[in-house]
Structure formats: C-alpha cells, structure tokens
C-alpha cells in the first residue's frame, strides 16, 4: 500500500465507522451472548466427558504410547510425512519454525490494499490449503491407533520377546510387519541392518523424539534383553 492508498483506506474506514453503532450496548451484547455460549459449552463438555486421570506416570515402564493433546497432532504427524532420519529435524523444528515465521510476518509481505477474500486469490487459496493440511494431519493423528499386537510369524524362541515388544509401546511409532504406525522407521527388517548391540544402544540413547529405554533396561533387564533379541531377529525373511 502506498501513501495514497493508506490515506484512502483511513478515509473510507472513518466513514464506515461513522455509520456504525456504538460498541456499548450493541457489540457488547453480541460479545456477551457469545461469551455465555462459550462458558456453557465448556461446562457441558466438562459434565459430559469429565476429567480422565490415567494410571500414574511410571518412567520405568515404556508400555505407554506417547500421545499429545489433539491440537498438537498436526505437529506430531509431520513426522510421518518426513521419512529419512537425517531429515527428521525438518519435521520437528524446521517446517514449524518456517511456518511460524511466515505467519508472524504475514502483514509485512502481504501489503496489497485489497481486503476482500474473493479478490485475493493467492492469499485465500494459501489459507484454505493451510487449513486443509492441518485438518488432514489432525485427522491422521486421531485415527492412528496404538496397537499392542504383532501378527508377524515368529520362531518359537522369540515368542516371548514378541509379546514384550508388542506391549512396550514400540508400535506407537514403528511398523513391524502389518502392525504399528509409520511415525518412526519401519522395523520389519531392522535385524538385517543392525546387530543386537547396536539395537540395545539405540534403545538406550535414541535419536529424538524417541523416548529412552535406559530406565527399562535398569528395572527389567531380562525383558529388555528378550526385546532386543526379538527386534534383532526381524530380518524380513520369514
């Protein structure tokens, strides 16, 4: 907007404002009705859904699939879109930071005088696309279950390890055979790439955002060993 457009805007605005109604009581009445509805909805949701309190946090068991609050699903699910581990920082920090900067600086690069959404095709399209992408990622996150069963056939000596792996929360992020999620790398053939020691090291010192299983090893050393043996046996040849 150049100076003439700015002055024209202020002039037009002062006329439209002059033709309007005072904030009190007209706008304040609408705001009050909306505020009442908001509070009623909050109370209604509290009555209907209550306040669930799950089992106490236990840093030594890793049998729980980390799930953020639903309004963080879109950030969480970005990890699904970005697959290679060396690019994970893009999904966790890179893309959100860039999007946030674009959002923050919006009025400084979109300086055109036009305000009508129908006459700003680029801005309106970008806005709808952003809403679409965020909705899609949120729905993905809502649909992603936390399976606790692995259907892949296993040699009998690894059966117990399979049970432990299935209940240890790995499937919350990783795929083994047909089960699990695709947030982290697929583990179906991990044994062909990593040995037992390497898998144990990764479990204790994982790359972000995977939680560490070091505590689990300390408290349940036997289970930890069986878990590692099972995961190392996954070579994709069964």
């Amino acid at each position: 907007m150049d100076r003439r457009q700015r002055e024209q805007y202020l002039r037009e605005y002062s006329i439209l404002k002059g033709q309007g109604k005072p904030f009190f009581p007209y706008a304040i009445a609408k705001d009050g009705i909306m505020a009442t509805i908001t509070i009623l909805v909050i109370i209604l949701m509290a009555v209907l859904f209550g306040a669930e309190l799950g089992p106490k946090a236990d840093p030594t068991t890793t049998t729980y699939t980390p799930r953020p609050e639903w309004y963080f699903f879109f950030l969480f699910e970005l990890l699904r879109v970005v697959k290679p581990p060396e690019l994970v920082f893009l999904a966790t920090i890179g893309i959100p930071t860039i999007c946030l900067m674009l959002l923050l600086l919006l009025p400084f690069y979109d300086r055109g005088p036009e305000r009508n959404p129908l006459r700003r095709p680029i801005a309106t399209t970008a806005g709808i696309a952003t809403i679409g992408a965020m909705t899609y990622l949120t729905v993905l996150g809502a649909l992603a279950g936390s399976p606790t069963e692995i259907e892949l056939a296993t040699k009998p000596q690894y059966e117990e390890g399979k049970e432990i792996t299935a209940s240890a929360g790995c499937l919350g992020c990783h795929k083994i055979g047909e089960n699990g999620n695709t947030l982290g790398p697929n583990l179906t053939e991990i044994g062909a790439r990593l040995g037992r020691d390497a898998i144990a090291r990764t479990l204790e010192n994982p790359t972000a955002p995977m939680p560490s299983y070091a505590n689990y090893r300390k408290t349940n050393p036997e289970q930890f060993d069986k878990l590692v043996q099972y995961v190392a046996s996954l070579k994709g040849d069964e």
Binding site: M1, R6, Y9, R11, E12, Y13, S14, I15, L16, K17, G18, Q19, G20, K21, P22, F23, F24, Y26, A27, K30, D31, M34, A35, T38, V41, I42, M45, A46, V47, A51, L53, G54, P55, K56, D58, P59, Y64, T65, P66, R67, P68, E69, Y71, F72, L100, L104, P107, D110, R111, P113, R115, N116, R120, A123, G127, I131, G169, A208, P209, P211
Partner: protein, 270 residues
C-alpha cells in the same frame, strides 16, 4: 457528543408535576429514597472520576463506534478472551489443591481433586476442555482476521501480537499437559521435550531448561507448573491488554465487502 442509545436505555424525562417537580426546575416534594440512591451512586462515580480521570477513557472505549456490517464473526476474539478468563478462574481453584512438589504428590493431588474435592472433577474438566475450546476459538479468530484481510494497514502490529498470543496459548497446552502426571501426560511430554532438543543450536539447551537437567526429575514438574501458572499466563494477560488497546485505538475492521458510498466520500472531503 451524546452517543445514540437504543430507546429502552434512554431515560424518559419526568412529566410536569410528576415526582413533585413543577416543570420549571423547582421541586416541592423531598427527594424519594430511589432518587437519593441514584445521587449517592453518582457522587461515588464523581469522586472516583475526579481522582482517576477514567471517565473519558471509559467513555471512549464503550461508546466508540463499531463499523456497520460487523457480524457474529467479530465476537470470536472476545470469546477467546472469555475462554482464557474461564481457564484463569478454574486454574486458581485447581492451584488451591494441586501440589507440584514431587511426582508422587502431583499425581496424588490430581487424583484428590478428581475424586474427593467438592466439584473437583467438574472444575478439572472445565480446565481440561476449556483449553480445547480456547484453541479452537483462537484459530477461528485468526481465520476471520486472515480471510477478512484485517491484518493489513494499520493493524499489522496487532496481528503480530495475536500470533505471539497463539504461540503462548499452545505453550499453555504443552506445559499444562504434564501436570496431572499420569502415563499419558508423562510420555507425551517426554516426546515433546525430545522434539525440542532436536532443534539446532539452542534446542538441547531449551530441552535441558524445560527438564531442569538432562533427565526428567522431581524439579521438572515444579518448573512446568511455574511456567504454566505464572510466566505464560502473565504474558498472555499483558498481551491481551495490548491487543485490546490497539483494537480500541484503531477500531474494529469493517467487513471487506463493504465500501463507503461515493457521495459520503465527497462530502467528507469538503
């Protein structure tokens, strides 16, 4: 300038002879208690105004004009603020019972609030679902501002404040999620902090700051608690003040499809 009040709010002038008034300014009967009460209130308001000078400010805020054509979309911002106020009030009541001392106390006090305290589950539920409602409202409010082009000149700064408020609100969601300290909140926060640590340069330091060390420990909860109930809401309240000040100063935008008519523009220029 007297603001145009709707009819039902306008005081009706007394008829001659009514209330013992003679119509020419003289009064024959002593003032009724009702009139005395009105005068009492007026003198208190006058006393306050003489010492604060607040009335021109309040009058400017309340009687400022809102452009014609504003609709229900324009109530989303104030609805977000009321959701925040509801969070603040329910949060104060939760803070009366919540103990952030150590992980075991945190969970026990959250369970105490949910199971024992009078109306405890309702207040916790309101706080828990209020956060979702506030997030939905803030995104809707931002969508309205975006599609109506309301972030353009001269309101650029208010958009920036609004985006900062959005980030702070998300931070409230993140820091509050840990506090009940059940499995769900613990593991989600472990992953969230791990995500932070993957950031370049400051990422690891930020994660260490949030955890109060390299691992989750007893002080992590009190750290999240302090951020959740002091630092972030304080900032949010201050920025809502700035946001509202700019709204009052610059005025609410008119809907983008409304244009001033030619004849009005001409008369204005003369």
């Amino acid at each position: 300038m007297t603001p145009p009040l709707p009819k039902f709010l306008r005081p009706t002038p007394p008829r001659p002879g009514e209330n013992g008034r003679n119509g020419d300014g003289t009064t024959t009967a002593p003032p009724k208690p009702q009139e005395q009460a009105v005068e009492g209130v007026a003198s208190v308001v006058g006393w306050l105004d003489e010492r604060t000078g607040a009335s021109p400010f309040l009058r400017g805020f309340l009687y400022r004009k809102v452009p014609k054509g504003t609709n229900w979309f324009y109530t989303l911002g104030s609805a977000t603020m009321f959701a925040f106020l509801s969070q603040a009030v329910t949060g104060v009541f939760l803070a009366m019972y919540y103990e952030p001392d150590a992980p075991s106390r945190a969970y026990a006090s959250a369970a105490h609030i949910t199971n024992d305290v009078f109306l405890g589950e309702l207040v916790r539920g309101m706080h828990r679902w209020g956060s979702s409602v506030m997030i939905i409202l803030i995104f809707l409010h931002m969508g309205r501002t975006f599609f109506f082009g309301a972030y353009k000149y001269p309101r650029e700064l208010n958009w920036v404040i609004g985006v900062v408020l959005l980030v702070l609100t998300l931070m409230m969601g993140l820091t509050g999620y840990l506090l009940p300290f059940d499995q769900r909140s613990f593991w989600a926060t472990v992953v969230a902090v791990n995500l932070n640590s993957s950031g370049p340069v400051i990422g690891p330091y930020l994660a260490d700051f949030l955890r109060a060390g390299s691992e989750f420990g007893p002080t992590t909860i009190s750290r999240f608690y302090a951020l959740h109930m002091l630092a972030v809401p304080g900032l949010i309240a201050a920025l809502i003040g700035a946001h509202l000040y700019l709204v009052a100063k610059l005025g609410t935008t008119a809907p983008p499809w409304l244009k001033a008519e030619k004849k009005d523009l001409l008369t204005e220029e003369i």
